[in-house]
Structures are given as C-alpha cells and as structure tokens.
Symmetry: none
Subunit: 200 residues, 4 copies
Amino acid sequence: MTPPRPNEDKPARLRAAALVVFARTGVHGTAVPAIAEQAGVSVGTLYRYFEHKEALVNAVFRDTKQRLAHRLMSELDVSAPSRAIFDTLWARLSAFAQEEPDAFQFLEMQDHDSYLDPQSRALELGLLAQVRQLIQLGQTAGLIRSDMRPEIIMALFWGAFVGLFKAARRGYLQLTDTDISQARDACWQSLQTDQRGPGK
Amino acid sequence: MTPPRPNEDKPARLRAAALVVFARTGVHGTAVPAIAEQAGVSVGTLYRYFEHKEALVNAVFRDTKQRLAHRLMSELDVSAPSRAIFDTLWARLSAFAQEEPDAFQFLEMQDHDSYLDPQSRALELGLLAQVRQLIQLGQTAGLIRSDMRPEIIMALFWGAFVGLFKAARRGYLQLTDTDISQARDACWQSLQTDQRGPGK
Amino acid sequence: MTPPRPNEDKPARLRAAALVVFARTGVHGTAVPAIAEQAGVSVGTLYRYFEHKEALVNAVFRDTKQRLAHRLMSELDVSAPSRAIFDTLWARLSAFAQEEPDAFQFLEMQDHDSYLDPQSRALELGLLAQVRQLIQLGQTAGLIRSDMRPEIIMALFWGAFVGLFKAARRGYLQLTDTDISQARDACWQSLQTDQRGPGK
Amino acid sequence: MTPPRPNEDKPARLRAAALVVFARTGVHGTAVPAIAEQAGVSVGTLYRYFEHKEALVNAVFRDTKQRLAHRLMSELDVSAPSRAIFDTLWARLSAFAQEEPDAFQFLEMQDHDSYLDPQSRALELGLLAQVRQLIQLGQTAGLIRSDMRPEIIMALFWGAFVGLFKAARRGYLQLTDTDISQARDACWQSLQTDQRGPGK
DNA sequence: CATGAATGAGCCTTCATTCAT
DNA sequence: TATGAATGAAGGCTCATTCAT
C-alpha cells in the first residue's frame, strides 16, 4: 500500500520509523503496529527482521548511538588544541541535535535501562570512553582543568548540553545560534582552571 | 493480609509507592497492580483515592515537584550575594537528589508531557519562574554574567546538575562530596563573565 | 447523612429504593452502592437485611408483584358480569401503571428469568391463576368467547396492555384517558365471540 | 481450537453469537468473552470487527431489526384488502418469532434505550412508520376502525403479539397453530368498528 | 518473502461483598 | 446495629506475537 522506496532495505526503514514514533510516544507508549505502519510495511515483516520489540529498540538505540558517535568522532583532529576540539564537538553535537531531533531525544530517554541489552550498554560505554580520552588528553596538555575527574567533567558537560536542547524542545526556550555559541563558551569556561580562586 | 502501618494515610502511601515504581519502570511501564502491591493495599483501594492512573501520576508529580520547590526555596535569603545563594541551592539540590533519588529521577523523566494536566504544568512553570528571578537578581547585581539570557543559564545549570546525578545513578560515576563541590564551583565559574575573552 | 424518615423500617425503604434504580438502569446495570445511597443507608446496612443482591431483587419482585395482585384483586366482585369485572381490572391496572410506573416497568423487564428464585416464580404463577379463573368464569357464563383457551386470552390481553404503556413510556405515544378507554373497549371486543364469522 | 466453518465471515458470526447470548442473559449480563466463545473466536478478534461492546450491540440490533423489517414488508401487496394484509403480516411475524426466537426476544428487551445509538433508533422508528401507514391505509379504506389513533392500534396489536410469544417462551403456554390463528382473528376483531356498541 | 487476521495474556477499571470500628 | 473502607475476582479492552495464506 505504501512502498515509498521499494529497494531501500527494510530493517533500516523499520529502525528509522521506530525512532520517529519512539521519540514521539516513548517506547512503552508505542504499539508495534504503529511502527510497521510508519515504515510502510506489515507487522509480520517487522517480525521477520526483529525478533522482539525489545530487539528493535536495541537496534534503534545502537544505530542511533553509532550515528552520533560517528558524527562526533570521525576525522576529528585530536592533535588540535583542546579548545578547537571542544568547539568542533559542540558544533557537531548541535548539528546532530538540530538535524535529528528525534534521535537526540531518543538517546536521552530515561527509561532505557529497563530494556537495553549488554551490547547496547557496551556501545554506550565505548563512546563515553572516547570522550573521556579526549578530556584526559586536554588535561595532560594543561588545556583543561586537571583538578576534576574526567567523568565529572563529561557528566556536567553532556548534561548541560542536553539541558539546553531539552529546554528548547519542551518550549521553555527559543534557541538562537547566538544562544548556542554563548552556551558553548560558558561551558568551556567552566572547564578552565579557576583564575580567581574559590568564591565567598 | 498486609496492614503494615495501619493508621498511615493511604493516599500518601500510594503516592510514595507510585513514585518508587514509576522511577524504576517509568509511568507507561508500570501496571497499576504493581503500585498497589508496593503500597501494600489492593487495587480497589487505590481506585478509591485516585480516579485514574493518570490522576495518580499527576498527584505524584505535583507532590514531588512541590517538595522539591519547598526544599529549594523555603527560607532562602534572597538578599545574600549570588554566590551564597548559588551554594545554598546547590547544596539543597544535592541533598534532595541524594536523599530522594526516586523523586529526583521521576521529575526528570522525559515522557511526562503525555499525561500531565494543566495544573501540574503550571506548577512546573512556577518553580522555573522563581529560579529565573533569582538569576535576574544576580545579573542586576553584577554577580552573574549578564551577557546570557536567564533561560539559557537555567537550562545549562539544571542540565549540568541533572547530568551529574544521572551519570551517578546509571553507574558511570561514583559521586563523592568532593566531586559535588568541584562540580558546583565549575558551574559557578561558567556563570561569571569570562575574564579571558573568547578562545580561538 | 440522609435519614429521611428515621422510623420507617429499613428493608422496606431498601426495596423501594431498589425498585426505583432497577427501573431506571436495569438490574444488571445497577451497582449495590447506588441502591444504598438511594435508600439513604450504607451498603453494610443493605447487606444486613439482604443476603445478596439477588435476594434483594427477588424481594423487590415479590413485593411489587404482590402489591399489583392486591390492587387488582382486592374486593373484586367476582359475581359481577364479566364486562364489569373487565372494566374494573382495566381501571385498576391503568391506575397502577400510572401511579407506580417504576413498579409496572420493573415487573415487565425481560431478564428476570436469570435471577428469579422458585418462590418468586410461584408468586407469578399464582396471580396468573387468579386471572385465569376469572376468565373461565366469564367463559362459563357465556360472556367471554369460549373458543379460545384462557391462557391465550390472558397472554393477548396482558400483552396488549403492556404494549400500550410501554409505547407511552418509550415516547412513541402520548396516552390520554380517551386512548385508554378506547383501548379497553377494543380489547374487550376481541374477547367476544366474533359476530361476523372469520375473514378470508 | 474451534474453527467450525472457517470461511464464514466473522462479523456475521459474531453478530449471530451475540444475539444468542444477549437473548439468554441480556446485554448487561453478557460478558464479552462469552460472546467470543459462542462465536468460536478469541476476544481480540471480536475487537477487530467491533470497536466497543456497544458497537456490537447496535450492530446486532440493526441487523435483527432490519431482518424483521424485511421479512415483514418485502413484496407486501399493499393494494390487497386490509384483512389480507393483516393475515400476511401475522403469518410473517409468527414465522419470525418461531424461526428466530432469540431475535424476537432480543428486539423486545426493555433496556435497549441505554445503549442504542441514534442510527439504531432511527431504524426502529422507520419500521414503526411503515406499519403506521398500513394502518392508516386500512382506516381510509374503511376496513380498520377509524375511531382509534393508529399509534394506539399499533401499540395494542404489537403488544398482544409479543405477549403471546413471550408467554409461550416463558413456559406459561404451549402454542399451537390453532392458537396462533385464533389469536390472529381475535386481534383482527378488535380492529373492527364495534358492531354492538359499548358494553355495560 | 510479505501480509494482516487471529490469539490470549495482561492492562485498567468496576463492583459485589466483607469486616474492623 | 450502622458504617464505609478494603478486598479481589471479573469485566472491557489492548497489544506483542504468531502463522496460514
């Protein structure tokens, strides 16, 4: 009934479709037929390519996480100064969040823990490890403050970025390019050794 | 069969129980009987006090949000310097996130939009408005950078905080008090006017 | 909270209340608490006087049937000519249907068979037997056609009467006193030996 | 487990099954699984074809009413004398009541008002209007008494017929063909102008 | 391979009935 | 004796999954 691009491979179309509806209604709130319909195939076909709904969720998760990882890390000049790397990463993340809002939102959904399998979790850790290395590199080079554990830095930075786009998505905020640049600079600033000593 | 604390009031017990399981499995992933069981009452009893599952969710949300708001804002000395206010808020938030991890996680869940009623949403906006005012006060007093919109500052700050505790909860991080203080200082640092000018 | 007539006996009040709501919503469509509320007592009290919902239904049925029987048969001059008896019965039935529409409707409800107990059924047969005797009397006296079994006559007559008031209740008809008299005469006419021979 | 006639169409089988159990237990007294079981399908299948239980009830009602209407009215020679029309209708009604007792009983159930939708109600009124016209025709032709409103005549006649078969169904009566003919003649007689003047 | 009708376990909700107060 | 909160089986309905075509 709806064979949009007949020779596009079905699993990919199903993953893409699932991503859309998962972002809209959440994983638990999405019925399998709704995914099949969005993909323009029948339920039976979906189950030909994915054993469970859970398997599909994990496939979508890995797919999306990997796309993010690729967009962030591919051809990244790790020999550049940290600030340049930071700006590049920020720009790439922003592009991802803006060009694939569903993907970005999906990755941030809270209730993944209940159905992610070990492989998916490993993938997540992999990306984290990569970012961690970048930070450590910067710390060693003296370009990023060394008085904080890289894990803390990552959590704060990633959280701040997510917070920014989540606020925008929920309508609390209208994000302009200026906002995004300012936010980037503020975040970078917090990664520097404090020049003024502790407050108070 | 299970009258654990016979004279504790049921609605409160049900809200508390719901919070626990919602935090664990998400709202959509939680069956009503699971809530009743956690509360040690029967399903029928739950429905005596809450018309819908949705009504219960909203009650839990409001309850929790209000408790957070109260913990954050009660007896806050708004005439204190911004840094002191900031530290107080950070400490209170940390205490909340550590003492009531379920509550903290629940409030951060993504898929609330689908079932929150107007009253709940209004409550959320109310707390945001309060925090916003604090930031504006600090900006006017020259203690917080004025080159960023308060909304952006809030989003970044709240996001960073959430990111920190979410990473801890997910096991990517073992949070110590030192970590929390450092994170606080880093966040505060990003709220200051940059002393060194933009990078690059 | 609502002790309307404190010394009226409770079972009677409960039967009356049940009749009202049964007529309105049907037996299956009526929740026990609704009956208690209508009676101005608590559910617990209801169960003090009636073992089951079913027991209450049967009590209401018997109560109502007996009241009908009494209104129809008490002080009936069985020595009067059939036409006079007929007119009296018709008038009494009409009064009952008009003064106690709930009772009349309840007695005619179809799905009684599923919960009437033997005693209730016996009562029903008792009233039928009484009417049957009246008809036989008339037949013997040559005042009612003898070419039809009394059972058939009863069924037709009772059905016609019910049909008349049911149509009125359902809004297909606005019943006037003239209508009721005409209907009475038409019914009586059908009980007479045909003066013109069969059709066809 | 029970694929009795595999290629019979399911909605029809479901309507037929529902009619049977509705006639037995009443609509409110019938659980959806009981209908599915009677039809030899699963609950899920029932809900594939009918949105609600209520939708099914209405479908059954319309189906049944229309079948009755068709059996009564199709190829009816309205130019025939009233008596002939009357006899035909009576015969057709009798056939319907005897061949499809569940259908006949279902149509007469009291508590329809609570779940019939406007379309179903319209259908009911349509059939009534048709019968009404036949009566008026007969009245104009002087073959049916003109001193009674057609609505009254309809109510009495339909009620009498229903009463006859209801009595039989409830076991108060063993209906023979002779009974049915006699009843028909008696009913016709009541539709004639009284030749003897009022009784008393 | 693809389809989508069929299945039935499980979800949300109601309600007849009980029992501590 | 009266109350009404508590219970849990059962009802209406959904949806992940299967399988005949």
